[in-house]
């Protein structure tokens, strides 16, 4: 076991865990932030996506020991950022979710995409969202919600 100090959604948290524990399980079981989901454990589905220093990261394969001082943002914290809020709103506006289990990861990937590419093409969406699995296949509305969020942030700028 080892102690780690994590910067999480803008505040500091200390956890005492096995250094090999993936960030995902630290979030879910130590910090009780269950919005980040376990889907595969091998970074193949994207349900566990969080931001590590603003980069969309699959938390199921990143040991907590590698995080260091990097800033972590999860689905519970992304709404405090105007872009994150805009994406969440667009998701609600387009009634995207079905079972909803993958949507935290989808939203985190979409926010990271729009941060770097505020006006993404279909191809940009294919590439950035291409690793986020949705078994309900809500992909058509995910595409629509990203386009809507993109318009919203342009309108606000």
């Amino acid at each position: 076991m080892a102690k780690y100090r994590l910067t999480m959604n803008g505040s500091e948290k200390t956890v005492d865990v096995d250094p090999s524990t993936p960030l995902l399980w630290v979030l879910r079981e130590e910090l009780k932030l269950t919005g980040t989901k376990y889907g595969c454990g091998i970074s193949a589905c994207g349900a566990c996506t969080v931001h590590v220093d603003g980069v969309a990261t699959r938390s199921c394969v990143v040991p907590v020991s590698l995080i260091g001082k990097r800033e972590i943002v999860t689905i519970e914290g992304v709404g405090s950022d105007p872009l994150g809020r805009a994406v969440q709103n667009a998701w609600v506006e387009k009634d995207v979710v079905q079972c909803g289990y993958c949507q935290s990861g989808q939203i985190m990937s979409a926010v990271a995409l729009l941060k770097g590419t505020p006006n993404p093409t279909d191809k940009d969406v294919d590439e950035s969202m291409g690793g986020n699995l949705c078994r309900c296949a809500t992909y058509v509305r995910i595409r629509e919600a990203i386009a809507s969020a993109s318009r919203q942030i342009k309108g606000a700028a």
Binding site: D18, K37, Y38, I42, W91, N132, R135
Partner: protein, 722 residues
């Protein structure tokens, strides 16, 4: 009443549990008396079990179903709230625990399946809403000392003559004490205020900010996490286990063998998931595989093809069996189709949490089969079912996987909780457990021979289906009649295409691979066969694929005719396709809902790229058109699971060759249509299901487009090469 051989999935559970008093389910369980004690659902549903008006004006409506994406947590309350004239903005929906009053009115057990949620509970929820409204009106009228007739209701308020008004919140306590009316007048369709509107989901916000709790998110004081090491070959038994390395890890609480329906397994219990996983990885288990059949999909395929060459048990035989002999060989099509095993792989891994306290227990399960899951937990713990408080947890998808006929997940959880008396235990099946755990859509081979008449229409059709029975060896085995499991031939034997000489037969081999219904069940493969062959006939006849289908369909296939006509109007784009793109058409009726689909497809990087899909649906009255649209947009994507390159589970010498989403990869965003337009045939007929009917049409539609691009026929799934 239909004749017994005509039974379909919608009615068989009702028969099993109601008509036979659950006898067959009992036979399957160790303690036969339990299901016999299950009373049928009540004839009259008490409104207080379904609707509760809070003093603050919120109206809590109980949903007698699992919510796992299909949207009933919104649609069923819409129905009740409409008849009740409730203020929709104040409605809160809750999932019901396992109780008799929440059983499906038709199936007789509490469950989601057969696309029956709205179809079976539409009338029930309307009556509940109307009764609640009548009780509120009666209470207001009593207070005002007037008869109830002149009162009207709107947005949770009763209005009386002379500017009298009273809110439902004010009336609720008194209304609840009043007798429940036996009969109530329901609204005319023209009076609906919520039903038929595009109403956004009630669970949307919670599912976008991370606050929605699913079964896997459950956190209880003192809770432990359990993982189970299963035999790598189905049915293997633990010969010996060396758990010293596993037990040496900090936070491991127990390691022990548990019995399974077939063979046994090793459970690992720890404080945390990661500890449990590491401990399980360290177990050294010697498996006894003696006497266990080692399924091998290459060998199975060869065997199935051999079986398909001979007639099976005859599911339907219409006309003259010798008609084929009169068709010259040049006018015949002989087609052989191959379908693999498919895992459901819902996004939320399978799980169940159980706490055993000696004389009672509590369970938290994202379950499609509450009644049976509760019963099995009770049976394992030696309790009566009503001593098991059963909470229905939100599920991250399911597609049939959470409706197992043996409740094996809750059973494992109960076995573990029994040993850890007093401690809540959450059993988690990792993604590897899920992909390798069986309960797949069965592998199938179809062989079809078609004789074509001079007019280009089929005159003779001989069809042999080979695939494991879903029902054999389950509590529903009594539904197998004359060696025919209807779930294997549905969509083929009951086709609405009018072929004068028509024969479908089926073989059900026994294979050591657990199988299960997979969203749309038999239609997953039967529709693919029917719709690709009919398209091939249209191409040979040089007739437009929509027009050909319209000509071949029976006149009384009204729903299918209605969707083909609507599709014809709405897919005008199909007449001016860009170079390199082709049109694919398919239509199919399942679960009483008819669907027609047009897709625009090109080939990019040797894969089909689906640029758009236009869908026409006839599902009777669309209770929530927004939700119907969601189900169709998503259901098409789900249906593509069997077309993607890695959409197959294969076995070699008993071992499953896939492990996770690397080897078994369902459709990602690039694999599905970029846009999907859904058009609903206006209707006031009773609503029919929308969960499963989207699935069957998409794969044949895409493949029909590919055939137009390449001239080839695609009869082997998954589609590994084009």
């Amino acid at each position: 009443m239909r004749p017994a051989t005509e039974l379909n999935r919608r009615s068989f559970i009702q028969l099993t549990t109601a008509a036979t008093g659950g006898l067959l389910i009992s036979l399957y369980l160790d303690k036969p008396s339990l299901i016999a004690q299950q009373p049928p659902p009540p004839k009259v549903y008490p409104p207080d079990a379904f609707v509760h008006v809070r003093r603050d004006g919120h109206i809590v409506i109980t949903v007698n179903r699992l919510e796992f994406g299909q949207g009933v947590q919104t649609s069923l309350p819409m129905i009740l709230a409409d008849e009740m004239d409730a203020d929709w903005s104040k409605v809160i929906a809750e999932l019901a625990p396992a109780e008799d009053v929440y059983k499906d009115p038709l199936f007789g057990i509490q469950m989601v399946g057969g696309s029956g949620s709205i179809a079976h509970s539409f009338q029930q929820y309307r009556e509940l809403g109307a009764k609640a409204r009548a009780m509120l009106v009666a209470e207001a009228a009593d207070r005002w000392k007037i008869p109830p007739d002149p009162c009207r209701t709107e947005n949770s308020v009763v209005y009386g003559p002379g500017n009298r008004s009273s809110s439902y919140a004010e009336l609720a306590d008194g209304a609840a004490k009043r007798p429940v009316p036996q009969t109530v007048k329901l609204k005319n369709a023209s009076e609906f205020r919520i039903i038929g509107k595009r109403v956004p989901r009630l669970d949307s916000h919670a599912k976008c900010d991370g606050s929605q709790k699913f079964g896997l998110d459950l956190d209880l004081p003192g809770m432990k996490i359990a993982l189970v090491a299963h035999s790598p070959v189905f049915g293997g038994r633990v010969k010996s286990v060396d758990d010293r390395d596993a037990r040496s890890l900090d936070g491991v609480r127990d390691v022990f063998e548990i019995p399974l329906a077939k063979g046994s397994a090793v459970a690992v219990v720890a404080d945390r998931f990661w500890t449990a996983k590491q401990a399980r990885d360290r177990l050294k288990i010697d498996w006894d595989l003696s006497g266990v059949e080692r399924a091998d999909t290459v060998q199975l395929l060869a065997k199935y093809k051999q079986m398909a060459a001979t007639d099976g048990n005859v599911a339907i035989n219409r006309g003259d069996t010798k008609a084929m002999d009169r068709v010259p060989a040049a006018n015949r099509i002989v087609a052989e189709y191959e379908f693999p095993f498919l895992a459901h792989a819902p996004m939320e891994p399978l799980n169940a949490t159980v706490k055993f306290e000696g004389d009672k227990a509590e369970a938290w399960v994202p379950s499609q089969f509450q009644t049976m899951d509760q019963m099995v937990i009770a049976e394992v713990l030696g309790l009566k079912p009503d001593k098991v408080t059963f909470h229905t947890e939100f599920a991250g998808g399911g597609f049939g996987r959470r409706a197992t006929t043996d409740s094996h997940i809750p059973r494992e959880a109960a076995l573990i909780a029994k040993r850890l008396r007093g401690t809540p235990v959450k059993l988690i099946w990792s993604r590897e457990d899920d992909v390798r755990g069986g309960y797949y859509r069965p592998m199938h081979v179809h062989r079809v021979e078609i004789g074509i008449g001079r007019d280009g229409m089929p005159v003779a059709w001989r069809h042999v289906v080979v695939g494991q029975s879903l029902l054999a060896g389950t509590p529903f085995a009594m539904m197998i009649k004359d060696g025919i499991d209807e779930t294997a031939v549905e969509g083929a034997k009951d086709t609405s295409y009018d072929v004068p000489n028509f024969r479908v037969s089926v073989h059900h081999p026994t294979v050591n691979v657990p199988v299960l219904w997979w969203r749309s069940v038999g239609h997953t493969h039967s529709a693919f066969v029917m719709e690709t062959l009919v398209d091939e006939l249209a191409t040979r006849a040089k007739v437009d694929p929509i027009a050909y289908r319209q000509k071949l369909l029976k006149a009384d296939a009204k729903k299918l005719h209605s969707v083909l006509e609507l599709l014809d109007q709405k897919s005008g784009w199909r007449k001016t396709l860009p170079r390199g793109r082709a049109l694919g058409i398919a239509c199919h009726e399942s679960f009483d809902t008819a669907v027609a689909c047009a897709v625009e497809v090109s080939i990019e990087d040797k894969r089909p790229r689906i640029h758009r899909a236009t869908v026409a649906v006839n599902c009777g009255l669309a209770v929530n058109p927004l939700s119907v649209e969601s189900q169709f947009q998503g259901g098409l994507g789900f249906g593509l699971t069997q077309l993607v390159a890695k959409g197959a589970i294969t076995l070699k010498d008993g071992y499953i060759e896939q492990r996770n989403f690397d080897g078994y990869a369902p459709p990602y965003i690039i694999d599905v249509p970029t846009t999907v337009e859904v058009h609903i045939v206006p209707s006031t007929e009773p609503p029919t299901g929308c969960g499963e009917p989207p699935v069957p049409v998409i794969s044949p539609a895409v493949v029909n487009a590919l055939s137009r691009l390449t001239g080839k026929r695609y009869r082997t799934l998954p589609l590994t090469t084009i």
